[in-house]
């Protein structure tokens, strides 16, 4: 646990979160840049083909995660938690490395389909380099926000349950809604 529960937050905690955020952003930038480079292979494809592939890919990801392909085909993810050994070299460096592994999106569990659709978007839409970097920064920030919420909400103990509920994210509608939102936004990049 990056942040010990039930105590007043300090500058120390802020630095831990900053290191974690730096890690998530670095990891996400690495993934976004890698996929953007690979997107060069889609250069010869026309826009209609890209849109069809994006829609087909989204359906495929959905089937693999929630549909008839569950247990048949596995989406790329590391089915393990990030090992606690990352913290052996100090809390700040450990927070950074922990965040880095979370930010790459493939170094731990990925329970949502939204990150896969995001990668498909970068791969098939082939946005500008600046947009791809923005995608990396946004994903890194999105990955770090729950930890920031946890830090700020635990200043007042009565809010800790709310933050925990948000971070657990048990809403069954969350996965399809976020996936559709990413797909919806992807069409802005297409046109």
């Amino acid at each position: 646990m990056l942040l010990p529960p039930n105590r007043r937050r300090s500058l120390y905690d802020t630095k831990v979160i900053a290191a974690y955020w730096g890690g998530t952003t670095t990891g996400a930038l690495l993934s976004a840049l890698s996929v953007w480079v690979l997107s060069g292979f889609t250069e010869p494809l026309g826009m209609r083909v890209r849109i069809v592939l994006l829609l087909t890919g989204t359906v495929f990801v959905w089937l693999c995660r929630h549909g008839s392909l569950v247990g048949v085909l596995a989406l790329p993810e590391a089915r393990r938690q990030i090992p606690s050994q990352v913290f052996t070299s100090g809390i700040y460096r450990g927070a950074y490395q922990f965040g880095f592994e979370m930010g790459t999106g493939v170094r731990t569990y990925v329970p949502s389909i939204a990150p896969y659709i995001l990668l498909l978007t970068v791969w098939l839409v082939r946005p500008t380099l600046a947009t791809a970097l923005l995608v990396g920064c946004g994903f890194g920030l999105g990955r770090a926000i729950p930890m920031m919420v946890m830090m700020t909400s635990q200043v007042a103990s009565k809010d800790s349950g709310i933050a925990a509920e948000f971070i657990r994210g048990k809403d069954i509608y969350a996965t399809p809604i976020t996936g559709l939102l990413v797909l919806l936004g992807a069409f802005t990049l297409v046109y």
Partner: protein, 44 residues
């Protein structure tokens, strides 16, 4: 997600909607990446 922390989703969803309406690629890209990052909030 719940009503007390649901406001966190307003920013990325707002960015996507504004990006769609104004065809601002950067806003939409930031919005969808934030949504994707937030969607993994349960896997800490």
């Amino acid at each position: 997600m719940n009503y007390r922390t649901g406001w966190l989703w307003l920013l990325p969803v707002g960015l996507i909607i504004v990006g769609l309406l104004t065809k601002a690629e950067a806003l939409a890209a930031l919005g969808i990446s934030l949504v994707a990052g937030l969607s993994l909030a349960g896997s800490i």
